[in-house]
């Protein structure tokens, strides 16, 4: 590496370290997160009453409670208190003010009159209108030291950087397993990524609409180390999960193009066969000198209808051409 570049990188890294250390000295506790944490405390005048007390008078949320109890969060019982570690008030805040004055008799009376008794939900944490980092913090305040490595790069991932929070994708009350079902995944992602939805409608496409593979087959929505939230460390590794026959390495490589399949392919969808970004022979002529274009239409057709009619091992081969070179014909 160029020594000047090495020095510049060292200086840059040192700058980060020094700035961070300075901030350590001057901002204890960590202010920005504390500001968000204040949003999650709930009303200071309310008290925690327990889930059973919250739902004692009315049963509109019984299903939600049942689902939470049946989930991974619900089955964690504290040995000390013998109570669930996570319950409604863990996220929604202390509930005493919300249920103040509500009695079973009142609920029954309202039900007879066709009315649904409302609790004073405005005294609870207004999760829906929190800023994205605070919404995520509702979850991260617990899911931050449980060695959950699917969140390994969450904070610097594309979603977090662009203010997508946990609740934008996860519906915490949808059911006990809390995992997004494969039938729902496509619609969930395409809610925001609607350009991608259109690309999957092109004639050559990966079978996302057919629900044979899913967005999470290639992407890690919680963040990753490389661009586009791809789930592996290189583009090639993502593709060869399923297309291992193209993995190589080969004796005769296609220069360094095989390190990035998107040099030639458009992974979501394409007008052209085999997800190619451009039609043959134009795709290949962008980088290679074409064969002779003699007067004979037959010869032109033979050479130019599809380059891969002859150069069929275009991803790499261990067998030379008859001439001894690596032209991918064998």
């Amino acid at each position: 590496m160029n020594p000047i570049k090495s020095v510049l990188i060292m200086l840059f890294l040192s700058g980060i370290v020094l700035t961070a250390c300075e901030s350590l000295k001057t901002v204890k506790p960590m202010l920005p997160m504390k500001e968000y944490e204040k949003m999650l405390v709930g009303s200071l005048e309310a008290e925690y009453v327990g889930t059973d007390t919250c739902l004692a008078a009315c049963h509109y949320h019984d299903d939600k409670k049942k689902n939470l109890d049946a989930s991974t969060m619900g089955v964690q019982i504290s040995k000390k208190t013998h109570m669930p570690i996570v319950n409604c008030e863990s996220c929604h805040g202390p509930g005493s003010l919300a249920i103040e004055g509500i009695t079973r008799e009142q609920v029954e009376e309202d039900a007879k009159n066709g009315k649904k008794t409302k609790c004073k939900y405005e005294t609870l944490i207004d999760i829906r209108n929190l800023p994205a980092p605070a919404k995520s913090l509702v979850c991260l305040k617990c899911h931050s030291k449980y060695a959950e490595f699917n969140l390994h790069t969450w904070n610097t991932g594309v979603h977090a950087v662009n203010d997508v929070s946990c609740s934008d994708c996860h519906e915490i009350h949808m059911g006990p397993d809390l995992m997004i079902r494969k039938e729902e995944m496509e619609n969930l992602c395409e809610k925001c990524h609607f350009t991608v939805k259109a690309e999957f409608s092109l004639p050559s496409h990966h079978p996302i609409h057919e629900k044979k593979i899913f967005c999470t087959g290639c992407h890690e929505p919680h963040g990753s180390e490389i661009e586009k939230n791809l789930k592996k460390m290189t583009v090639k590794e993502v593709c060869v999960q399923c297309h291992a026959d193209k993995e190589g390495p080969y004796t005769f490589e296609h220069a360094e193009n095989m390190e990035d399949c998107t040099t030639c392919h458009s992974p979501h969808g394409s007008v052209n066969n085999n997800l190619l970004k451009a039609r043959q022979p134009f795709l290949c002529l962008q980088c290679h000198i074409g064969h002779r274009t003699s007067a004979s239409a037959t010869t032109k057709g033979e050479l130019y209808l599809r380059c891969t009619d002859c150069h069929s091992r275009i991803h790499g081969t261990d067998i030379p051409a008859a001439s001894g070179t690596g032209t991918f014909t064998q």
């Binding site: 925690y48 904070n155 006990p176 939805k197 259109a198 007008v271 067998i319 690596g326």
Partner: protein, 658 residues
């Protein structure tokens, strides 16, 4: 030196927050009530009784095909019985979930998961489908087609993955094993070039090739909270086995100008082995400063051909929020790729492919170019600023440097430097109106391929508007332009390239009535390139064809409606139409215009779907689906590898719930 720098950054990135991590450490949720009880009289939480839920369904799927299977590329187009179901049983401390759908023997999926409290988790998923493949026609010149025209090719792909994870009681430490097993079986078209090896003796061949490929991968790992950081280590082994038909042979009865008589191998799918070791560590996610780092070493080995490649990849990310409104993100990535391919080939399947004896003139030698090894460093800095509620501004800068070995052999640059800068804004103009705009500029100094522009600009705008509760609209426009003034590979002959890519997307969804919603969407996509191309001429020189246009254009229209009167029945209807066109138009300097004619294509795809569900009783439901697909080859020429196809599919099911 670079590895040292990278390692130092990784250690610092993970260690910086160590000093304050304990202060920012997550406390036990305040919601945990303090239970006051008499000594020795601890209350015991009663887990609620949750009844198991089951449903099963059975039915019949009838499909009728006319023409090309491209109409339903990923379906088995035969009549079949269908059945499936779902079971959910949650009896504390056990949770069991089973879900299976079987449409045919080549199209089914299953999902099984079991958990014991939070201590043990098991999950297995299978997804099996059939991919109908092309059977392209070899036209012009000498052809040796060994397969029947119109023969149907296809591959059944079965993808299985599993996870077993064990957790230490009351402590976040896990041991896990995960893996995948992918099997591909079927036949596909195999193309190759036969003949003596002389340019004037070309024989293209096409034949059916049986496949029986398996890809196996297993990962063993462990992770745990260790004070201020969490650490994960894992080891992965992967094997690709091409099965018993991994190479084909051709027999040459007599010597030609270059190739001697004898048996020669071709179209080999080699067996490969991959090993990887990965270390990941990160700080807590909830502080104002958090960091993560990953180091991985991957070794790949082609056991048939002898080539090897090693990868060393390290990355570190830091998020720092000095104030609520301002956040910085820094990412660094270092990648080393080292290829080692053989300098000579002894034999393939016992046959000496590079021996002079194989050459009639006795001078044949294999010319193996050493593969390109490289080192890449990428650093990205992002700043996000929220001046006031509803507005977020973001700036991003990326610098990447690629250095290559063995570049001269391939006539590519030794070093490529890339820089990119972008600015974006997300603004909530009103409660129900949101706008996003982004501009990106990229520069690439000495790109290694002509398809990478030397400089490029991209702009994106997206608007979402909900004028009232029942109406939701969104509109997006994306344009990217690229330019190269000095295409490297063709040197003095040709040097210009311009690209333009556009996307326009519009969507509307409207709740017409309480139970009736409709949606409309339109998408326009194009990719246009204009580039100088170079061809050989018959005198052995080369000539340029300047500013040759190539383009792909597609338009998609979709309408769907859903009617769901409560407790009665459900009706869904949808229709979509996609028109796609591709072409490239060389000039006719030496008669090459006809080449463009070979590659033109235009298709229409129309899909109509109707589905309904009707509850016969509280627990029994009937379902009926009809799907019609018409795939049209508009130009209807033999060159374009597409043909008309129509499919009608009717699926009738009965479902019972408990």
């Amino acid at each position: 030196m670079t590895r040292l720098l990278m390692s130092l950054f990784v250690i610092l990135a993970a260690g910086i927050p160590a000093g304050f991590a304990e202060e920012a450490a997550v406390e036990a949720p305040a919601s945990q009530p303090e239970i006051q009880s008499d000594a020795g009289d601890m209350p015991v939480y009663q887990f609620p009784v949750i009844k198991p839920e089951y449903n099963i369904y059975g039915g019949y799927n009838s499909m009728h095909l006319k023409g090309s299977r491209q109409a339903e590329e990923y379906r088995v187009i035969t009549d079949s019985l269908v059945f499936g179901g779902e079971m959910r049983m949650i009896t504390y401390p056990h949770r069991l979930h089973l879900d299976a759908d079987i449409f045919s023997v080549k199209d089914y999926d299953a999902d099984v998961s079991y958990a014991y409290r939070d201590l043990a988790l098991f999950r297995f998923r299978n997804n099996t489908f059939f991919h109908n493949l092309d059977n392209v026609r070899l036209l012009f010149g000498s052809v040796n087609a060994l397969d029947a025209p119109g023969r149907h090719y296809g591959i059944k792909s079965s993808m299985n993955d599993f996870l077993v994870r064990l957790k230490a009681p009351d402590f976040p430490a896990h041991l896990y094993v995960s893996g995948s097993y992918i099997e591909k079986k079927g036949t596909r078209q195999d193309m190759a070039l036969l003949g003596s090896g002389s340019f004037n003796n070309r024989i293209r061949t096409s034949q059916a090739r049986s496949l029986d490929w398996t890809t196996k991968e297993i990962t063993v790992g462990a992770n745990s909270l260790l004070g201020p950081v969490e650490v994960d280590v894992s080891h992965t082994e992967k094997r690709f086995d091409p099965g018993s038909h991994n190479v084909l042979f051709d027999s040459y009865a007599s010597a030609g100008a270059i190739r001697n008589e004898g048996l020669f191998p071709r179209s080999m799918n080699p067996e490969t082995k991959t090993s990887a070791n990965t270390l990941r560590l990160h700080t807590l996610y909830s502080g104002g400063l958090s960091a993560s780092a990953t180091i991985t070493k991957i070794d790949r080995n082609n056991t048939d051909g002898g080539a090897k490649s090693d990868y060393f990849i390290g990355s570190g990310q830091v998020m720092w929020s000095p104030m609520t409104k301002l956040t910085f993100f820094i990412k660094y990535r270092h990648k080393e790729v080292d290829f080692d391919n053989p300098r000579s080939i002894g034999s393939i399947e016992g046959i000496a492919v590079c021996s002079p004896a194989n050459n009639a003139a006795g001078i044949y030698r294999c010319q193996i170019r050493p593969s390109v090894s490289s080192m890449t460093d990428t650093i990205t800095g992002i700043g996000r600023y929220r001046p006031f509620a509803g507005v977020a501004l973001k700036g991003e800068v990326t610098y990447e440097d690629v250095r290559r070995d063995e570049y001269r052999e391939w006539r590519i640059p030794r070093e490529t430097e890339r820089t990119a800068a972008s600015l974006s804004a997300d603004v909530r103009i009103a409660r129900n109106v949101k706008v996003m705009a982004k501009y990106t500029h990229r520069d690439s100094n000495n790109p290694a391929t002509n398809v990478e522009p030397e400089n490029a600009d991209e702009g994106k705008v997206a608007l979402s508007w909900m004028p009232f509760l029942e109406l939701n609209t969104s509109l997006g426009y994306d344009i990217a332009k690229g330019k190269s003034d000095d295409i490297y590979i063709f040197a003095a002959l040709a040097n210009k390239r311009e690209t333009k890519r556009q996307r326009v997307i519009a969507q509307v969804s409207y709740l017409l009535l309480k139970d009736l919603s409709v949606g409309l969407s339109y998408a326009y996509m194009d990719n246009k390139v204009r580039q100088d191309l170079v061809y050989s001429d018959t005198a052995g020189g080369a000539f340029a064809d300047t500013s040759v246009p190539g383009k792909d254009v597609a338009r998609t229209y979709m309408v769907d409606a859903s009617y769901m009167p409560k407790g009665k029945f459900l009706l869904n209807a949808g229709i979509s139409h996609t028109n796609s066109r591709g072409s490239f138009s060389p000039s006719n300097i030496l008669g090459q215009a006809v080449i463009g004619d070979f590659s033109r294509v235009e298709t229409n795809e129309t899909v109509l779907s109707l589905a309904g569900k009707y509850p016969i009783t509280k627990t029994v439901e009937m379902g009926l689906q009809y799907r019609y697909v018409y795939f049209e080859d508009v130009l209807d020429r033999p060159y374009d590898d597409v043909d008309d196809g129509r499919v009608h599919a009717i699926l009738l099911t009965m479902r019972k719930e408990w």
